[in-house]
Amino acid sequence: MTSLVLAEHDNKTLSDATAKTVTAAASVSAPVHVLVAGENCAAVAEAAAKIAGVEKVLVADDALYAHLVAETMETLILSIADKYDAILAPATTNGKNILPRVAAKLDVPQISEILKVVSPDTFERPIYAGNAIQTVQAPAGKKVITVRVTAFKAAGDGGSAAIEKIAAGSDPGTAKFAGEALSKSERPELTSAKIVVSGGRGLGSAENFKLIEKVADRLHAAVGASRAAVDAGYVPNDYQVGQTGKVVAPDLYLAVGISGAIQHLAGMKDSKIIAAINKDEEAPIFQVADFGLVADLFQALPEMDQELAKRGR
């Protein structure tokens, strides 16, 4: 009885979403194997081998997997699926893109974005933007699962799994990578940062968003945004926190100029502490905020920047 976890990585670094998915996988079906598909990804495989609880790391190192194109990943995973009772991936854009193809070909229902493993065949998952939590039981047979990684602790280090090369699968030739424009940032990654400072429509422009970035940098925080701020073009799409964007659960989430639509709350309400600055005291964000400040952000943010500097941040 073994489970397979699809590693999340960029060919150089293993994302901690993988270790979190390993934690979920271990309670579904142990031992856990990790599949690292990529190109020149030996360092990633070595990192995966160190995750506690991982028995084996399978590496498919081939140009075909440089960008984890879903069609080629489907054939690769299906080529080894026979050996596994459960196949899991973090609910990243890669996991969401790839795994339903695998489930469909295996003719099993996928269970998306699990929050909790109640028992090896029973899971909790959010529906309606997290306004309801569904407990579902999977039928006998293989399970295909994506994992909401903010809901699981990362498995620790200390493993020494065997690394085994596997052959590349076939290329169906239906789709290929044709370019990317990735956001470059020195800041921590949004979904794993300890502190997130997010801005909304209230910022009013891309220029003004720098006020958010200044405070974020003082706090060594990641920068997030509401859908309204992304739609308005203040920041790129990958900043979006919410039901259909990224889900974050940092130690501190500071929401500035964000009213708090349910779709946004869905992406951040599991944060340990929520603080909000908004000039509208009726804004729904205050209903979930531990600390609320009713203020004009154009005064509050520069003041916070200075105050943090004074405090040596």
Partner: protein, 248 residues
């Protein structure tokens, strides 16, 4: 090129859902229902393709109760040409939806299927990818921009790190993300015209698909509530509180 657009009838995105007291699901009685917002974006994209002369016919499909025909009418009013209603009662899981859609694709032979990336009720984010896999087609999920020619589609996708472009051979499946376009409101004349457009009624059995759920829903519960906190008066006080709480 024919374009197929599946549309789902869901609780309107502005409605605050309530979990039923017996924990069997959420309360749908007297709740405003609308087309899934991502499906509206899908319909809009199809209509734009038709306006540009790249699509010849748009077929809107809904799988659901009789009232899902209203969702199809909305798509017809936006510019779709005809509809197919596959009547079912109860929830249909994404895999069963994908199987029905595959059967419709086999019959209709479209060049492109555009679906929403997820429905805002079950938040599964599976159907488009499952359909593509069952058909053996390529997919461009979470689409931000579509560049379509005769044999291939260049699809720019919203991914965790930014944007990625894939080149997909046609026929293909595309799933929409928020910023692909801004859906239009149907004009009154178009709403009137839509009433005359044909909607064909079918059943899952017509396509040989068993829609009995495979997953057993044991319970639907309210999430843990977050209590509101305290209001502070100044930025300094806010930072003090955050320090005390160990958050900064």
């Amino acid at each position: 090129m024919k374009v197929l657009v599946p549309v789902k009838r869901v609780i309107d995105y502005n409605v605050k859902v309530r979990v039923k007291a017996d924990q069997t699901g959420v309360d749908l009685a007297n709740v405003k229902m609308s087309m899934n917002p991502f499906d509206e974006i899908a319909v809009e994209e199809a209509v734009r393709l038709k306006e540009k002369g790249k699509a010849t016919e748009i077929v809107a499909i809904s799988i659901g109760p009789q009232q899902a025909s209203e969702t199809i009418r909305t798509a017809l009013a936006m510019g779709a040409d005809r509809g197919i209603l596959v009547k079912t009662d109860g929830d249909v899981e994404p895999l069963a939806v994908a199987k029905i859609l595959k059967a419709i694709v086999d019959a209709e032979q479209p060049g492109l299927v555009i679906t929403g990336k997820q429905a805002i009720d079950d938040d599964s984010n599976q159907t488009g990818q499952m359909l593509a896999a069952l058909l053996g087609w390529g997919q461009g999920t979470f689409a931000h921009k579509l560049d379509l020619d005769q044999n291939a589609a260049k699809i720019e996708r919203e991914i965790d790190g930014g944007l990625q472009t894939v080149e997909v051979k046609l026929p293909a499946v595309m799933t929409t993300d928020l910023r692909l376009n801004e859906p239009r409101y149907a004009s009154l004349p178009n709403i009137m015209k839509a009433k005359k457009k044909p909607i064909e009624e079918k059943s899952p059995a017509d396509y040989g698909v068993d829609v009995a759920p495979r997953l057993k829903v044991l319970k639907v519960a309210e999430p843990a509530k977050r209590g509101g906190g305290v209001k502070v008066k100044t930025v300094a006080e806010l930072l003090d509180k955050l320090s005390e709480a160990g958050a900064i």
